[in-house]
């Protein structure tokens, strides 16, 4: 693998990281990693969670210092001792969590800390013009006088990019920029990135979405378990190869769907309504069936799941489980009835990040793990250990705080707590968002197992290959309504679903 050496032609590379190693107490995070990026190149950085991408980026950004190895910027050896130093050297990093002040406008954010002023008075017009100039250079229109929290995620992303450009960035690092975007927004963002390339910037692009990588990357460097696996040139960028290099083994079928004979109707939803978000939604799910629900972001998919779960109050409509009408008024009621929801936003809705994994696991199951108000910690621990083995959750011990786990392991903890709750209906909202290929595969296998066990499963997802590959039936939503149903996903195409999703 390492024999695919990058041809060293052209001018001096913008960035060359050589033999970079870094270890933290107890963990060798990086071992002799190489990364070379040229100006005018989009360089994908691939690897599963925990492969060392974040550590590498943090070293580049001056957050961590490498134990060994060298970094050269345009041929000059540098040693960043602080994020500030990296910024001054022209390295702009856009993290998944944005660094925007939500109540300031786009312009104010762009010039935050580097305001144009005379005698302390802002020169607003000059800032405004410069901002306008930047955005038109990127080929996007962003409202300049609106607080940033009113902008869409995609627009905020563009503001982040522009902010990096105001700081004279020559090399832009983007960490999973497309996870929260709609397909149309993704296309627009990719166009912006390509525009940056033609202007001579180097871009390091981190993503789990291999189709995007195939689409725009000029080269891809792949890491696995902190080790440098190799660099693929444009001509070698094939999905199968990338996955194999990342996972270290062959995965024959990305979506291991198994057919399960569907049983009786488990869950029936009739005329569900809530304001403009959900307008008259009705459907059924059978035992052993995986119902995929897709649509554009904001189509009302998540809202439907939240209404069924009792997280939001419904205006009207009914939910039946096994032919029985349920009166669910809170998530607590839903859990009692055997309905659970794995939220899309694990960090804010799924986990108590500052509490131990054992407590997270036990939280919805305390009815089972308690007598007379006292928690039966031994039983709880025992049940947790069972799931840790079964789901192969990588965690040092039961008291580890949830925040210290990788995305895939966090998702498994969430899964474990709901599996323990022994629900009849399990709703997954974006079950594989931000999760690497290997962990994705394990979660698909689990969905299969659950279907086998006779659970009714609702899988909400924006990733069309996933919906097509894993569902028995697909509902497509648009503006709060169900606009299409696909009865045989194995014969459907992405184009067909998009047709429904657009309305």
């Amino acid at each position: 693998m390492s024999d695919s050496i990058v041809p060293q032609t052209g001018p001096v590379p913008l960035l060359r990281m050589r033999c970079v190693s870094k270890s933290f107490p107890g963990v060798q995070a990086l071992r002799k990693v190489e990364l070379t990026v040229r100006g005018g190149e989009i360089h994908a950085l691939l690897g599963e969670n925990g492969a060392g991408k974040s550590t590498l980026i943090k070293i580049l950004g001056g957050v961590h210092q490498p134990d060994e190895g060298t970094i050269e910027i345009a041929g000059q050896a540098v040693a960043f001792t602080s994020p500030r130093a990296a910024l001054d050297a022209g390295i702009g990093i856009i993290y998944q969590e944005f660094n925007l002040a939500p109540s300031l406008t786009a312009t104010e954010n762009l010039f935050l800390g580097q305001e144009r002023s005379t005698w302390g008075f802002l020169r607003r017009q000059q800032e405004q013009d410069r901002a306008q100039d930047l955005f038109s250079r990127l080929g996007v229109a962003i409202p300049l006088d609106v607080p940033c929290h009113e902008l869409s995620i995609a627009q905020q992303q563009i503001v982040e990019i522009a902010k990096a450009l105001t700081k004279k960035a020559r090399l832009l690092v983007m960490d999973e920029p497309t996870t929260a975007l709609t397909p149309a927004e993704v296309d627009r963002l990719l166009a912006v990135i390509c525009e940056l390339r033609t202007q001579g910037l180097g871009v390091i692009y981190i993503s789990h979405r291999l189709d995007e990588v195939e689409q725009i990357a000029d080269q891809a460097t792949i890491l696995r378990d902190g080790q440098y696996v190799g660099t693929l040139a444009r001509s070698e960028l094939e999905r199968q190869t990338m996955i194999e290099w990342m996972v270290g083994r062959q995965i024959e079928n990305e979506f291991p769907k198994q057919a399960v004979a569907a049983g009786a109707v488990r869950l029936e939803v009739k005329n569900l309504r809530r304001g403009a978000a959900v307008r008259d939604v009705s459907f059924q799910v059978r035992a052993g069936e995986v119902l995929g629900i897709t649509g554009l972001v904001g189509a009302g998919r998540t809202e439907v799941a939240r209404l069924i779960f009792g997280a939001d109050r419904r205006d009207s409509g009914s939910v039946q489980l096994d032919g029985r009408n349920l009166s669910i008024r809170s998530p607590r009621d839903a859990i009692r009835e055997g309905i659970c929801l794995l939220t899309e936003d694990r960090k804010h809705q799924g986990l108590l990040l500052e509490r131990s994994v054992r407590e997270n696991f036990g939280l919805p199951n305390l009815r089972e793990f308690s007598t007379g108000g006292f928690v039966l910690q031994r039983q709880e621990h025992l049940a947790w250990s069972g799931f840790r083995e079964k789901l192969q959750i990588k965690v040092p011990h039961a008291e580890t705080l949830a925040t210290h786990l990788s995305g895939g392991n966090q998702q498994k903890v969430v899964l474990a707590k709901w599996l323990q709750a022994n629900a009849k209906v399990i709703m997954f909202d974006e079950p594989t968002r931000g999760i690497d290929v290997g962990a994705k595969y394990e979660i698909y296998l689990l969905i299969n197992q659950l279907a086998h066990a006779g659970k009714a499963i609702i899988m909400i997802s924006s990733e069309l290959p996933e919906v097509l590959g894993m569902s028995d039936r697909i509902l497509v939503m648009h503006e709060g309504r169900i606009t299409g149903e696909v009865l045989d996903p194995s014969r459907a195409t992405q184009a067909q679903i998009m047709q429904y999703a657009i309305g």
Binding site: R332, L341, T343, H348, L353, E354, L366, H397, E399, H404
Partner: protein, 463 residues
């Protein structure tokens, strides 16, 4: 070669296991109770600063002196005993005289008075021709010049209790005093800890202290006959005071959960209302017409330990179990860490929060009853600024104002840190103005330490 490698590997695993054990037990302990070391440090500091000569007093000292005299002079001793008219000295002289008589010696005269009284007694002795063989005094009376003025006493061997060196701070009476004065704050701080753990704040506790004291005192004065009231009336009054505050706490909870108002605002409003109500009910005056039985809770002891201290210890034990072993405790932490995730995991947020504010009100009420029992009155001016002192205890004890992180026992440590600093500064004669400055600085340092240790230990991820 192979075995050498094996041993190296096993050494490595052992090291890793040790590191794991460290991270599993010691690190959480330091994170949760690191302030304990600060408390121990302060105790050490003030022990050194207040290390002085101690003169024993009371009956123990009396017996000791009696034995001293008997050892030297035997049953032939004829003793003149002199002390001041204070309670301590009377205990000293009485025990001394009793012990001497029991040993068979003669007690010529026992004086509890000033030097003039001693002069009179000595004159009387020499007139009646009785010659003492020993003079028994304590540290203060030994320095009186009157004994040198008479031939009867000038040449007499004088005996006094043996002195020794010990820190004033570590004297049993001082430590008891510190604990006793902290008890009320510490009891209220339990409720405040729960509230802050949910991410809220309860500013109304100080006013509830006043309200509870006024309500129970008024009930006793106006409906149970004041000082003549019986034990059952006292119990009734106590419960009435506590329940009133519990209801007010419940009102806090309802406003916060059902009307979705911020805790700071709700409890600020209730603080003003409760205080106003207490002043109105009491017509602005203190209510001292209370029965003896009422003073037992704050002033009585059980096997030598003051009741407030016992109550504090008991309540902390209960709170520790509540927060670490029960479903309710788990829910409190869950709500504070991430209310939305907690709700979506089926945690009944509304009842839990109302319960937390009721507990806080209830404990503030209990604190008010204990305080009024200690001070033997009901008064709407009680509890002034208590909320700030209590919040300071919680914060110094390591509980994060953002919620979700902290321990009940940490709060006990925090309350004692503040109490020890106050007491230590009093013993070392630091003036009250400077004391305030020091206390404020301690609060800032505590919060700073908290952010430091969080920065060091929580950014380290296993990724």
């Amino acid at each position: 070669m192979a075995s050498q490698q094996d041993s190296r590997i096993s050494g490595e695993t052992e090291k890793r296991a040790a590191a794991l054990r460290y991270s599993r037990w010691l690190q959480p302990f330091v994170r949760d109770y690191g302030m304990l070391f600060v408390l121990l440090g302060l105790i050490g500091l003030f022990s050194i600063l207040t290390y002085t000569e101690q003169h024993p007093t009371g009956s123990d000292a009396g017996q000791q002196v009696a034995r001293q005299i008997f050892q030297q002079q035997g049953a032939a001793a004829r003793v003149l005993i002199v002390g001041r008219p204070t309670e301590e000295d009377v205990a000293f002289t009485t025990a001394l005289a009793d012990e001497l008589r029991q040993l068979g010696a003669t007690v010529l005269s026992v004086i509890n008075g000033d030097p003039a009284a001693a002069r009179g007694a000595i004159l009387e002795l020499s007139e009646s021709g009785q010659q003492p063989t020993a003079l028994a005094v304590n540290d203060v009376s030994s320095r009186w010049s009157v004994f040198a003025q008479f031939p009867t006493t000038r040449e007499l061997p004088s005996f006094k209790p043996q002195s020794y060196y010990w820190p004033n701070f570590l004297k049993r009476s001082n430590l008891m005093g510190v604990a006793n004065q902290t008890a009320v704050y510490a009891i209220i701080a339990i409720g405040m800890t729960l509230v802050i753990l949910t991410g809220g704040i309860d500013l109304s506790v100080g006013s509830l202290v006043a309200l509870a004291s006024v309500v129970s005192a008024l009930f006793l004065r106006d409906y149970q006959g004041g000082a003549a009231a019986g034990v059952s009336s006292v119990i009734g009054a106590t419960l009435l005071g506590i329940v009133t505050c519990m209801v007010v706490g419940g009102f806090n909870g309802v406003m916060i959960t059902m009307f979705r108002l911020p805790p700071f605002i709700v409890t600020l409003g209730v603080m003003l209302m409760a205080s106003g109500l207490a002043f109105r009910l009491a017509a602005g005056a203190s209510i001292p017409e209370l029965p003896r039985a009422y003073f037992w809770l704050g002033g009585g002891t059980v096997s030598g330990i003051p009741n407030p201290i016992l109550m504090m210890v008991l309540l902390y034990a209960v709170a520790y179990v509540l927060m670490s072993r029960t479903v309710f405790g788990r829910y409190v932490y869950a709500i504070g860490s991430n209310p939305e995730a907690a709700r979506l995991s089926g945690v009944p947020i509304t009842p839990c929060l109302i319960g937390v504010y009721m507990i806080s009100g209830c404990l503030a009420g209990l604190g008010g009853i204990v305080l009024s029992s200690m001070l033997q009155a009901g008064d709407p001016k009680f509890g002034l600024m208590y909320e700030l002192e209590v919040i300071a205890s919680v914060v110094v004890g390591g509980t994060s104002l953002a919620g979700g992180r902290g321990k009940v026992l940490g709060t006990l440590i925090g309350a004692f840190i503040i109490a020890v600093i106050k007491n230590g500064m009093n013993l070392t004669n630091i003036d009250p103005f400077n004391q305030k400055i020091v206390l404020g600085a301690v609060l800032l340092i505590a919060v700073w330490l908290d952010t430091l240790k969080r920065g060091r230990w929580n950014t380290k991820s296993i990724r």
